[in-house]
Structure formats: structure tokens, C-alpha cells
Symmetry: C2
Subunit: 465 residues, 2 copies
């Protein structure tokens, strides 16, 4: 503790308190997204804040295992765990953090059996395995919940942040790609973001590029990881990385010219004419773009052969959401037919998007897209006389029954102070109870003028409409 006795009252590092003014905005955006997804036939899902470590470990790579928040054992299990962990640390070569594939578990695994939710995909996979009989054969779900990663916090990087996922599980139809893109585009449009671009590429096309460039199939992931850095390091950087990984200059140049040859789908179609898998991928891309013309994503899908999406698990179309005024993406997604079945022991097709909720809010903030007066009460009711304090409750009750949001002031105040309170909360009208039993003062801000007049209580609601 610091030299002062005062307790630290900031939220923990990398987390945030959401005070009302900010929360109204978050709830507004989440509500719009929810309504759009419901209109598209998606169903909500919520899973527990923590999962078994068995469920989580090894699903996000070494980095994921390290950044996961883990929950301490309780009681005697903890005592035993501490002893075992100490022994584990004394054994040469043992590490603290459990790594995927490691046979001797890390010290953390001796002290913990639960971890905070790290993404929304692994919980979805667990739910699909557990409730297969209770879910529809094609399960369209959306999930808007926080996840936690013990990353170094920074500007707009938090340890607790909201993910907003939408996925279709159980169908291989390309209508699914069009449906999820359309739903995502509809969300953004409904929130006032009309210049959204959904870049689209296909993992099988990237693999065909790599194959045609003469890079062996087992180097595929390395090559895709290198291409994924194009935005950050430029073409020279990518070629340097390919060279470092031992790929020949010839191969890497061939690959770069396929990837960087421009976003004309016809060009790529020709290049893939003699490559069956590549040609099939081009055909799928063309179909998804054509189908999307019948959805809110019409005109928003842009073929981008440089798009790689680093994550290893994609198998078909891949997507990235962009707006002109944000350097990074607002989210992305794609088809990943191998992942959702991880707990079922069989492949289950799936395709979806994840929207970066905090980035979306940042863009909306920058563009002034939040409606005015979100969450503000409609009327403030107050009294200037102590003996009329109780009548405040009665008038407020009456107005609430008519559907108005009513704030009260719980003690007699001067009229000027009441108007300041109304202003501070963005409340556009105030009712002041003075001495006269039947008459009240109605103060109203209807731009440009402000009115202030006496009204009989019986006529109050019409005066406030």
C-alpha cells in the first residue's frame, strides 16, 4: 500500500468501470446488434465466466495458455497444490506455465483447475458437444459476452473486453457465408456506419497460391502467417520472412506475384485455371459475392487476395471488416469446419464473424453516431416547499404510469438548482411543486426556446407531451 491510508479505488489494471453515460452507449450498440441478429434468426447463447482448464488449455497456442486468467484451487486442494507446485519448481527444466502438449503439467495446473473465458468459440464448441440433442440441426447463435486476457494493457487494449460473435453451426451451404455477412452489414448500417467494407478471400485459394508457387504443403501455415503480416511489414518484409523460413527466392516471388496481382477475381480465375482446388475456391468466392447482393452486404464485399487472417483454423472463405477511418480491422471471420467439433470427435461445419465491440464503439464515438439523450429521464419532479415533498412521489407515480421516465428530487430545493440538476442529467422538462396545491410549474427546454408556465396537476401529462 502507498504512503497514504486511502485505499486504491481505481478498477484493476486493464479493466473499466462503466458509469451510466458510457454504459447507455454500450447498451444501445449491443441492443441494436442483438435486434439485428434476432431479425436474422440467430439465437442468443451465454456460457459461464470460467471454464475447466481442461476445456481451455491447448486451444489458443502457448501464448493463449500464458495469457489466460486462472482461478486458484480452494481448501485442502490448494494446500496439496502448493506443495506439489514447489516440488515441480525444484525439478530442473520444469516451467511455471503449462504449455500445450507438455507432458508434465506446469505449476499453474497444480494450483488451478478453472480459467476465465478466453474467447467465445471454445465455449460454443463445448455447448455444441454437450447439448447436441437440444439444439436445432443448424444452430445459428450469437453471443455478446466479455472475455479476459492477461495481456499488457494499452490504448484501447483491455484485459476485460467484450466479444460479439455470430456463427452458423451445422451447414456447409454458401448461403451461410452470405447470411452472416449480411447480418454483420445490417448491424453496422443500423448503427449508422454505411461505409463498411467486408474484405473477402478464401483459405483454399491461398493454399493454391502457395502450391502453385512451389512451396511444399507442410510449409503452408508458415507461408500464410507471413502473408498475414503484409499490412504491417510490406511486401519486402513478407519476402524476407519467407526467405528466413528457408523458402527459395523463386517460390516467394511467384507467391507474392499471385497474392499481390490485384483484386480482380477474373485475373485470379485465369491464374487458377489449371489448379482444381484453386479454381473451386474462386468459384465459391464468386458465388458468395453474388449471393450477398441479395443481403444488406450488397456492394460491401470486396475480394482481397492479400487477406490471410492469421488464425490457423479457417478452412474456407475468410472475412475482415474495415472502415476507412480506422487503421485496424473492426473484426473478421470465416468458415472453420474443423473447430466446433473438437469436443465431439467429428467435423462440424461452421462459419461466423466476430465484431470488435470496443473498436466499433470507438468509431461510433469518433463519428458522433450515438443518439442524443440516451437513458436520460423525460421529466424531473421536485418541490420547492418542504411540506410538498411527499406530493413529489404522487406526481412521479402518475407520470410513470403514463410511460414517462421520471426522476425525482428527494428534498425541497430552490427552482434554479432544480433546473441545474435537470441540465446535468440531460432532462428536458421539470415539474416544480410550489405552495399552491393544484398548480405546478412546468419548465421545458424545447430548442430554441425554454418555456416555464403554471399548469393544473390534472393537465400535467398533456402539458408534457
Amino acid at each position: 500500500m502507498a504512503s497514504s491510508d486511502k485505499a486504491v479505488t481505481k478498477p484493476p489494471r486493464g479493466t473499466r468501470d462503466f458509469l451510466p453515460s458510457e454504459l447507455y452507449r454500450r447498451q444501445y450498440a449491443a441492443g441494436v446488434i442483438r435486434d439485428v441478429y434476432l431479425a436474422h434468426g440467430f439465437q442468443p447463447l451465454e456460457t459461464p465466466t470460467y471454464e475447466r482448464l481442461d476445456t481451455l488449455t491447448g486451444k489458443y497456442g502457448d501464448e493463449g495458455d500464458q495469457l489466460m486468467f486462472k482461478i486458484l484451487h480452494r481448501g485442502q486442494t490448494l494446500v496439496d497444490g502448493i506443495r506439489a507446485a514447489q516440488e515441480h519448481l525444484q525439478t530442473p527444466g520444469n516451467v511455471v506455465v503449462g504449455r500445450s502438449g507438455e507432458t508434465a503439467p506446469g505449476a499453474e495446473r497444480l494450483l488451478s483447475d478453472l480459467g476465465l473465458r478466453y474467447d467465445l468459440t471454445v465455449p460454443l464448441a463445448r455447448v455444441v458437444a454437450e447439448y447436441s440433442g437440444k439444439l436445432p440441426p443448424v444452430f445459428k447463435r450469437f453471443q455478446i459476452q466479455p472475455v479476459w486476457r492477461a495481456d499488457t494493457p494499452g490504448k484501447a487494449r483491455y484485459r476485460e473486453f467484450v466479444q460479439c460473435d455470430v456463427d452458423v453451426v451445422g451447414s456447409t451451404s454458401l448461403l451461410v457465408e452470405a447470411e452472416v455477412s449480411g447480418a454483420v452489414a445490417a448491424c453496422f448500417r443500423q448503427l449508422g456506419v454505411h461505409d463498411l467494407e467486408i474484405r473477402i478471400n478464401h483459405r483454399a485459394l491461398l493454399r493454391a497460391f502457395i502450391d502453385k508457387a512451389g512451396i511444399p504443403v507442410e510449409r503452408e501455415t508458415e507461408a500464410i502467417v507471413a502473408i498475414d503480416k503484409l499490412d504491417k511489414v510490406g511486401p519486402d518484409g513478407v519476402q524476407r520472412e519467407l526467405a528466413e523460413k528457408g523458402m527459395s527466392d523463386e517460390s516467394s516471388q511467384a507467391l507474392m506475384s499471385l497474392v499481390m496481382g490485384g483484386d480482380d477475381l477474373e485475373r485470379v480465375k485465369e491464374a487458377m485455371a489449371d489448379h482444381a482446388a484453386g479454381a473451386a475456391a474462386v468459384e465459391e468466392l464468386a458465388q458468395v459475392i453474388a449471393l450477398s447482393a441479395m443481403t444488406p452486404a450488397d456492394g460491401r464485399l470486396v475480394f482481397d487476395p492479400t487477406l490471410a487472417r492469421g488464425l490457423g483454423y479457417y478452412t474456407g472463405c475468410i472475412f475482415e471488416i474495415r472502415v476507412p477511418d480506422l487503421g485496424s480491422s473492426l473484426g473478421g471471420g470465416g468458415r472453420y469446419d474443423g473447430l466446433v467439433g473438437m469436443f465431439c470427435g467429428r467435423e462440424i461445419p461452421a462459419c461466423g464473424f466476430s465484431i470488435g465491440f470496443d473498436r466499433l464503439l470507438f468509431v461510433m464515438e469518433q463519428r458522433g453516431l450515438f443518439p442524443e439523450g440516451l437513458g436520460a429521464p423525460d421529466v424531473l419532479v421536485a418541490s420547492t416547499e418542504k411540506k410538498r415533498e411527499a406530493d413529489v412521489l404522487r406526481v412521479a407515480y402518475q407520470l410513470r404510469q403514463e410511460g414517462l421516465r421520471v426522476e425525482i428530487v428527494a428534498k425541497a430545493e430552490k427552482a434554479g438548482r432544480m433546473r441545474k440538476l435537470a441540465d446535468d442529467r440531460g432532462i428536458q422538462a421539470a415539474v416544480l411543486l410550489r405552495k399552491d396545491q393544484d398548480q405546478v410549474n412546468v419548465w421545458r427546454r424545447s430548442a430554441p426556446e425554454v418555456t416555464d408556465r403554471m399548469v393544473a396537476i390534472s393537465e400535467l401529462s398533456s402539458a408534457l407531451r
Copy 2:
């Protein structure tokens, strides 16, 4: 792991997955409560899932410190912590679990610096201390968020459960007691629970009872804790406990006759005529009951001199929410002027309610109070011909633009199967695209009859209204 290779896919012990059908109900109830609180001028607040252990420890008694979920240190801090924890365990007399007031911290404190939220009051107190300048002088907030307690799970007892709190911070006015009771009563009424009873008592009245019974002031808390068990152990049990604590038979009999003398406020007023603090408490109770007549709690407040509310921190009126068909309470609250200021170093008045969200849902479920068809799409759009699959997207888009919730089927299916899919999801209408380009089949369930007719696509929306 068990003998089978299949991973455990149940949610962790004491937690739940919320599948769509249940989540619609939870979201419906939470939405109604939110709207009612907003209509009463309360503002939403959300705080992080975890808090510093410094913030949480010692606030909930020994039991709370033990039931708190704690998050493991990361990296080198964890290595150091394990070593220190092992040493700590080897020191005779040391315990694992940190106890409030303990000078040497428990082993847990060496391994952890964060804990999951245990209630919504301590976070509120922290927020009030941190943002005093940004919050209104009287802060009316509601908060609906999960909390976590590592209790033994049981029937309707979970380790992760939702609390639903409403509080007014910063006012000593009795209008506050009436306002929060009114808002709580309005929530229940809006949800269809009309036989709610809000039992009310006053801590100062209980203290006056204890004083008049000749029990010294330093035994007050023990006496209140004993009275709190009246429901469970009966009057004899309470008297036994008072005797065990060393109170005289005369005192405990005097106390019981004051507590058990009946719920007539006049009776208690007479009994307190010669006791200033007791008489003041009676006067406050009478005022709150009178003020509540002007709120949705009209007729719902019932004086109950046996009500004690175990928690130590109440200072004024105390409340408990009851319905006839539930043995336990649905929540409760009261005035607690000493608590919210815990991080500010000064007393801040506060009064509020906490609703047991899961119990409320249980009562609603028992009584069938959830609306029909929550969350169900309005229309299912599907095709019976493969070549018309794509048109499904176009028709769905058209209907969604008219405000309908539309589910699609992403591949051609037989008409019978489509109707089954609609039935399974509770969808009341289906549009089937057949060979004919302009005509579609509209199937509709409008009890008692089911219609099935051909409609031109251009007339579709009027056919579905």
C-alpha cells in the same frame, strides 16, 4: 480424466450454460426490471468481473474470504508466490485462507491479487469513492451482474448467479425508502407478480427492543443475529440461543414479548412511548408506509417487528420481499448509512434493495408468467427447389426490411420438414419458394386454423401481417 476419451463438456460445477429458450426468459425479466428502474430515474452501472483482493478482503467476514474465487498470479510473481506460500505453510499455526484482521496473510494472498466479484455493494462503494466528482450528488444506480461464491452448489444454488441491486446513495430523506420500495414493487407488478409483500422493520426499533429488555448495547449484534433465526428455529430456539450467549431469562423473555407482540404499529408505538430512539424509529416506519401509498408499493408494505435481516450493516429501515408460494425471501434491503463510504473515510447515506434474480425467475416459471413465443422469429423462409435457394435470401431481406424477424433454411427441403422446423422453433408462419418464380406458398398457424395458400411475392408482406 475418466476412462472414456470424450472430454467433459458440462459447464463447471455450480455454473450454467444458458441456451436460447432459457436466455430469452432471463433477458425478458432483466429487460423489464431495467425499464422500470430507468422509468424511476435509476441509472445503470457495471463494474469489472474481478476486483483487487485488497478491495474485497475483510468486507464479507471470514466466510466471504473463504468463498471468494481468487485469480492466480502470473509469471515470476507466481514463482515467488509459490515459494513464499510453501514457506508460509511450513510455519506452525499459519493458515491457508486469509482471514480478515490477520496480520500474516494467508497462503492465498501470496498466490493471488485479484478476486471475482462477490456482491454488488463493495464495487458500488469503490465507484462512489473513485468518481465522486463525476456522479450526481444523489446517485441512484441499478446493477444487474453476476457474482461468484465458491459455495457448495445445490438445488437452485449456484456458484455463478445474477444479483440485481438498486440503491440510492447520498440522501437521508425517507422519500428514498418509499422510492426504492415503489420501484421494486413496480418491477414485480410489471412481471405479473401482484401478490408481493414487502415486510418492513427498523434496526433502531430492534435496538430499542433490546435496550428496553435490559440487554447491554455491546450484545446487540448477538441478539439481532438470534432474532434473525426466528423463522428457522422458532421462539424457543431464539431464547435458547440468547441463554447460551449468557443473557438472562428475564431479558430474553422481555425481548421476545416485544418482538413477538404482533404487527400492529400502534402497539409498538405505545411500547416505545418512553424510549426516544424507539419512538423515532416507529415514526420513520409510519412515514415510510404512508409515503409508499403514493407509489406502486401501495398496500404492499407490511410492518413485521420480527424481521431482523442478519447482515450487520443496516442502520435504518430494513425490508424483505416475499410471495406466498416461496418459503424463502425473494430479496431484501434497507438503509445502510455506514457502508458505501468505506473507501472515502466518511459516512455516506445509502438505501436499497437486492432482488434474487434466480428465485424471481423460479417463481415466474412456476406461475407461467413468461409471454409466449419469446425470441421466436416471425417467419421461416425456405425453398423446396435447389435452384431457388438463393431467392430465399432475397425474400428474407425484403421481409426483414419490413421489421419482421426472419429465419431461413439454407438448403432445399421438403415442405413437411420445413413445417416441422418452424414448429420446433415456435415460428408461426412459413414462406416456401417452389418452382413458380412469382408465387410462393404461405403457411400460417393462426389458432385454431392453419392456412396454406399461394401468394404472389409482391403481396407477401400483407399476407403475413
